[in-house]
């Protein structure tokens, strides 16, 4: 992919490349994440589920996707 078409983000702490213009909903679909079982933060802000479609990911965005796991 040439640079102009790529957005480089940080996904759960690791570098990740997307097509420019990809929204959060598309990213979650691509990752096959079950949306009702996760929460997402972009640049430190929690994103409500209804806003996934309208949130376009840009260069240097920091995306965190979390879930519940076993814990004390």
């Amino acid at each position: 992919m040439n640079n102009a078409n790529v957005a480089r983000i940080q996904l759960n702490g690791d570098p990740f490349e997307l097509n420019r213009g990809t929204n959060l909903n598309e990213l979650l679909n691509k990752l096959k994440v079950q949306k009702n079982k996760v929460a997402v933060e972009v640049n430190g802000e929690i994103v409500e589920k209804k806003k996934y479609l309208n949130l376009i990911l840009n260069n240097n965005d920091k995306v965190e996707i979390v879930q519940f796991i076993g814990g004390g």
């Binding site: 990752l31 994440v33 879930q67 519940f68 076993g70 814990g71 004390g72």
Partner: protein
């Protein structure tokens, strides 16, 4: 006899709350929780593994519609991290009832009470029902109640230590002076420890390692279920007075 266990206006069948960490796999976790009879479990919030999409999910084994998930901030050492974790948890499933734990030291895993009180205050203002892991200091627990904690959860001993309730006097003072439920959280190693907590009058017990690290976790889970029930009944029954000397159980009259 009705003996309701209510936290933040929600009734629970069991006074035993169990953690879901340190198990071999989710099958074992689910079986142990079933055996324990608990209807509330603590869960952690962590990053999704992006690379392994076929990893099983806790929610596939323990249905949050059937069992109450209590999101926990285990592993958080600052108020900021704890708040972030619980806000994410709320977004995930709409949970208002949460467990706050802000640790102060990696070795003892003792709570940092200054950060804990500060975080409780913020969470309560944001509409959370906060069950708070804390030291067994009656002044600190009073403060937590004042800022709106819905349950006070003093440690019996350090997390994962399994050495049992170390300061029974403090735990009973905390119970006496609190108007919200008091739950011993951490330090329980075996069934009798859980019973002792309940005999002190505590409203419940929260434990994880004692079950997960038993050689047979499912059997220990069942033992804990009965230990909590036994301790509660013993407390409610009003135990006998302790005497210095013997007192015969059979009557002295009509001896042959």
């Amino acid at each position: 006899m009705e003996d309701n266990f209510t936290i933040a206006n929600k009734n629970f069948k069991s006074r035993l709350i169990v953690g879901t960490g340190k198990y071999k796999n989710f099958e074992e976790t689910a079986k142990a929780i079933e055996a324990s009879g608990a209807d509330m479990i603590t869960v952690a919030v962590r990053r999704v593994n992006i690379l392994d999409k076929n990893q099983p999910l806790l929610m596939d084994y323990l249905d949050p519609k059937i069992i109450t998930y209590l999101p926990n901030t285990a592993g958080c050492f600052t108020s900021e991290d704890a708040l972030r974790t619980l806000r994410l948890a709320r977004e995930m499933g709409g949970w208002r009832l949460v467990k706050l734990e802000v640790l102060g030291d990696k070795k003892t895993l003792y709570p940092n009470m200054i950060e804990t009180i500060k975080s409780t205050e913020v969470l309560v203002k944001e509409g959370f029902d906060v069950m708070v892991y804390c030291t067994d200091d009656p002044i600190m627990t009073k403060k937590l109640e004042e800022v709106g904690a819905c349950a006070i959860m003093p440690l019996g001993a350090p997390i994962g230590s399994g050495i049992g309730i170390q300061n029974k006097i403090n735990i009973s003072i905390i119970k006496e002076q609190s108007s919200v439920p008091v739950i011993v959280d951490a330090g329980v190693g075996t069934a009798s420890d859980a019973t002792i907590a309940m005999e002190l009058g505590c409203d419940g017990v929260l434990l994880n390692t004692a079950i997960a690290e038993a050689k047979n976790p499912i059997l220990m889970a069942e033992a804990m279920k009965y230990a909590v029930i036994a301790g509660r009944k013993a407390f409610k029954s009003g135990r006998m007075k302790i005497r210095k000397y013997g007192s015969a159980s059979s009557p002295d009259s009509n001896l042959i």
